[in-house]
Symmetry: D2
Subunit: 415 residues, 4 copies
């Protein structure tokens, strides 16, 4: 897998000329329209008893910023090669996503939030005209939100063959039974549709047993049992919900791309989804490094600035080096998707996914340490940044699965 | 600091004969009286709007278990060499504290909770008869709780000389002004007294400027501004509170041990306090290792038990080795306090404090990883165990301060 | 495997009263008789063309020191519970071995060198009177040396079932064919006997196929093909030799303990052997830490002593903490052998073996880094110390095998 | 230092079109002309009593390969923007240097060996016509070799102001006195010239006190005291020599670029020099990874290929990820030198230098572990590869100095 062989294809990681002004516009949009609303948005949402709802005025702030972004043409960048004409190359989008990672509201204002991005990409790629009209259009317009039902509480979902939720065709309807958890975004009252991974064909070969089906969130029999927490957070109102599907019935045509193609769709969606997360993670690590330096410069102990104590300067250097290394690997994985296609690029994607969240956890953890008790408090964004990166080491395939992908490819290419 | 020189004093780490039956009794008490109430206790406390209060019935559960422990003579073990006749040697207590670390309610049922233990030890050692009568007695009886006011939000408290809260003598009263945060236990409605570190003598030499003063929680001018969170948790009803002291007046006699002795008292209290935490941390790491193995044995992926995948077996071995290593260092630090006194033992205490929470964080983090998404959820005790250990890397002196203590002693002994 | 259950048996790690004066005597012997000859011994041995021989005068230095030790009763300490009446408990010997680890000649002056110690223990435990008379006696007297033939170049010897060297009984003789490498000590002209692991019973069950046989080094057909290097060193004149056995014939009675008991003997010998190495490793780490501090205090750069730059103080603290942790684990493993017997103690031994050389490598490596170029040069003992510890991570079972022993025991005890 | 600002300048890391065929030619040259001679070259050089000399026939092998490379135009690639018309951009050369790192003779056959490359670059940049005629010309022709005299045994040379070797102008001659060590390449009988860092102006400001002077190796008063070892190797006949300068007299005109410009020249030379090493290091890590996989596939233990045991697959994945990350950082540093100039690029160079050798040490060490005892033996190239990378962590500035450069730039850019 020595990259020298395809270096001429993958090593030009320059942003395209056309995107440079867009990146500047995104930065300005965040500075002008997103950074200023974050504090009030958070304050309004604080301590609400009805957790999975928005406070009066909260969505107005968000919609205001969305409107400005949309008017400025800063919209749906995530969707490469779309028929809709929107979307940037994965490489160009990577540069933008790093910026989006620095403010937790930024992505949504550009309609570039997970898991909608992955869902929209799937619908755009394999949806029927009717499916697109009903679900893709309002998603692309930022009118509704969506979720993706993959993980199940009873099995190790890292091996997707373990999925147990069943869908059985009865007449013109799929009847779905099962349990899903950590369904991110399902708590949002605007979430209207779930793309649900189900087992439709238990007698087919292992990787042809699954399908993906569109399940409206208001379908009878679909119950949100409650939120799954992340280190004690319920992440309301977004939420990572625990959902029960009890004889949920959806029309036969709600299947995506055909029976038994669930895995193929997953391969399609997970590449970009993982990379988008990693791109934003780098923005998060940049922010942690900045906070580390700020704190180190502005506190004194034992007669010196904290930054000059012990190993702190070396910690800063190592963080910078690792950030630059991660940046290049993520850019390269994005380029690989552009040049080689999502399937061929999957080893690069797994390299990025196995590398980035783990290193970001370490960098944020070190930033916490320099902050003392404030670093674990609500006065700092660091605890939430940490738990988000820690979660990413488990989501979309745990680190171990991605290391295994990389290692097997390495061994294979070696022979 | 080659321990061979004093090995004959410190290397007998055997539990005393008299404590062996006590340890068995403590284990049985936890099994019979504490483990069975934990779930209901937690359920009752869940999602309360008035955060820093107890639900009806919650305290009854706790008091029931306390009563049983007290009747069985399992009470106040933490207090070595006490005039009161209670208390075990630090070494013996270490064995018991490891067990207490496995259930979050266990310590309190034996009246061995932080920060009361440290406060009681201080009162027992340096309190006047009147101070003992008023505060130590109800604390030893488990009738009230207490807190310790050290850390301040505006300065790097790791260098205790930075403390800014001032106490000025006006007539027969100390007038106290300042701000404290992360005051653990101050949220509990039963918390009646704070031992507060203040600056009384700004013109004295650096380590004689501070004093410790008893401040009743209901003193006019003492306001709890709110809870400080730990990775998003408010840890209610215990709480880590942010407190303002605005012209708080307390009697002159509320000072402990005399003006300018604040540091001396800190040295006294922090040794045992740190070691108690580390002892419980080892219990926590044991529990994490057990959970790791359970999960690894009971889930399958890619055709094998998870425990047999990748590096999981080596992770288990490394965890066991590190736990045994930590155990011995903590036992040795406890023994050092018994044999050499808290002052001479402080290097061993710093070794334990710098070593244990960091390694426990790693072990718990690995347990989380094996659990997948469940490992970060409310279905698992692991997230709370993690944030507790992570907090310990900052509390009672961050790792860096303890490494510095150890290194300076090492260099000094080398010459 | 929570040690609390057997803590009352294993946690008294005190040196016995009778050994305290012996330890002092050993320290004084090293100071008076070994440290002073090391430089000349090394100088005499330098750059010899005939590698596996001693220079005139070199052995005289060594024999002089041996004589003094023997006269002072500092002899054969390694052999616990020996009929010969010599030998200390494993725990007591551990304290002495730490000291031996600080000077590379010290062990031999007390007749406590590997691999003789293991060979003598085996002979003492399972040898026939004739075998003892012929080989154990001169070994215990320090008149000859010996080696142990286990590892083979063509197979992964970490799985001992892979051993391919065969011994076939023809009449009254075993006929041995095969190849061994890294046979430590076989280069020494004084080495007269090899205990050789061979396959005698290919049809028996896997762990009963092997036997151990005494093979005189001058047996016809035994050829030393040359030395195996360790990071480029040939470690002459001791040497780690590559040996060919080509129809080597030895008397039938040269078998130890009986056919098919090769593994049983290995279990017996490897426990103490591994622990002796680990004990000496700790002495080596102590020495590295001392050198680190010396260098750090005595060099300046950028206006400060090197010791005060960057993370050096934390490195020192971490080294001290790890050394103390290793010391306790090794002492505990030694105690376990004394109390539980070598078989039951093997998990503790594996814990020590998996822990110690890896951590010692790190500590020595950090000492090298602080020394700059001198740290990798012949002016410093550190490179040789490093390669010795690095070798130990592979010898007597690589780290991975020991982690596997520990993990399997952990999982088993968990159920 | 967020690279997004200058990403448009530095992120095109594509090899130039003109170099692609050269890279192919280099690979073929190594395959056809260098790989086949390595074993015989090494065999001829083995065990020579006269260490710093070549065996009959040894140089013929080398000169044969040099001749073929030169005829094929594969020569002096290292020298960017040279008046001589040779040389590639740093970026293009990086791709080639990775290949050179896989065979220890490859660099020299292309006249791209350290330290000649750095010396030639300095002479080309700042040499007088006379200096170029006398020394640069034969160096560029591969007729002589050279060394660089920087490090001194008595001071911490990581702070270059510490240099103590003095040069005093007496009439038309510099009189030089001092001691240098680890002067790489000075053992080679073909080494004719040293560029020597000396203190000429002790009263100037700290960074203007030093100069660099050309000292012929046969100058009276220059004595090679002996070789400095690297983990016991003398690395003959190349050697890292210990040199005494005792009233060595050289003509006044032997100074380079003028008095007090020693540091400026160092800045100039060290950038490319460090990067060339890092490039080759990546080739070395690639080779280690390949060996790791080979061994893992071809040995069995406990019923499975070693590669499938424990954490080995994850080790392989992590190695691949780190290699790709290192590759990109090194390419980026090379590009930075091309685009920003050596001075501006120095932070990128320090990032690469602080990152690469440390990570390569780890990868090679893991390859050793998988090999078992063979991994530390003369049968494997791994021990020599390890010690070379370990040495690089100290040479041309230890890791700590480079981390400090990176951290200070980071903090500065942050304000």
């Amino acid at each position: 897998m020595d990259s020298s062989n395809n270096a001429h294809k993958l090593n030009d990681l320059t942003m395209s000329e056309k995107v440079r002004p867009l990146l500047d516009a995104v930065k300005q949009h965040i500075r002008d329209n997103v950074d200023p609303i974050l504090e009030e948005y958070n304050r309004l949402g604080e301590g609400r008893a009805e957790r999975f709802s928005y406070a009066p005025g909260q969505l107005d702030l968000l919609e205001g910023a969305k409107k400005k972004a949309k008017e400025a043409g800063l919209w749906n960048f995530f969707l490469p090669n779309a028929e809709t004409g929107e979307g940037l190359s994965n490489l160009d989008y990577a540069y933008i996503a790093v910026e989006l990672g620095k403010n937790p509201l930024a992505s949504e204002t550009l309609n570039c939030s997970a898991p909608d991005t992955g869902n929209m990409e799937v619908l755009e790629r394999v949806g029927t005209p009717e499916q697109k009209e009903q679900w893709l259009k309002p998603l692309l317009n930022g009118e509704i939100r969506s979720c993706f039902g993959m993980t199940e509480p009873q099995v190790a979902s890292s091996d997707a063959r373990n999925i147990e939720t069943s869908a059985v065709l009865e007449g013109d309807e799929w009847v779905i039974n099962g349990e899903k958890y950590y369904i991110s975004g399902a708590g949002d009252p605007r979430c209207k549709i779930m793309i649900c991974m189900v087992k439709t064909s238990p007698d087919a070969e292992p990787f042809r047993q699954q399908s993906q089906i569109l399940v409206p969130m208001d379908a009878p029999g679909l119950t949100i049992l409650g939120p799954m927490n992340v280190f004690g957070h319920d992440d309301a109102p977004h939420g990572h919900m625990h959902i029960k599907l009890d004889n949920v019935r959806v029309p036969k045509d709600n299947i995506l791309w055909g029976e038994g193609r669930g895995f193929e769709i997953s391969q399609l969606r997970l590449g970009p989804g993982r990379i988008h997360h990693c791109m934003r993670s780098i923005g998060s690590a940049e922010k942690a490094l900045g906070l580390m330096i700020d704190r180190g410069l502005n506190r004194e102990a034992f007669g010196r600035s904290i930054i000059d104590l012990g190993k702190n300067m070396e910690t800063i250097s190592r963080a910078r080096i690792e950030i630059e290394a991660m940046r290049m690997i993520v850019l390269k994985a994005a380029k690989a998707m552009d040049v080689l296609g999502n399937k061929e690029a999957r080893i690069w994607v797994s390299m990025a996914k196995a590398m980035v969240p783990e290193k970001c956890c370490n960098i944020i953890d070190q930033a916490i340490q320099i902050h003392g008790a404030t670093g674990i408090s609500q006065w700092s964004p660091l605890p939430e940044m940490y738990t988000k990166q820690r979660t990413l080491r488990l989501a979309d395939g745990p680190d171990e699965v991605h290391h295994n992908v990389v290692a097997r490819a390495e061994v294979k290419s070696h022979n």
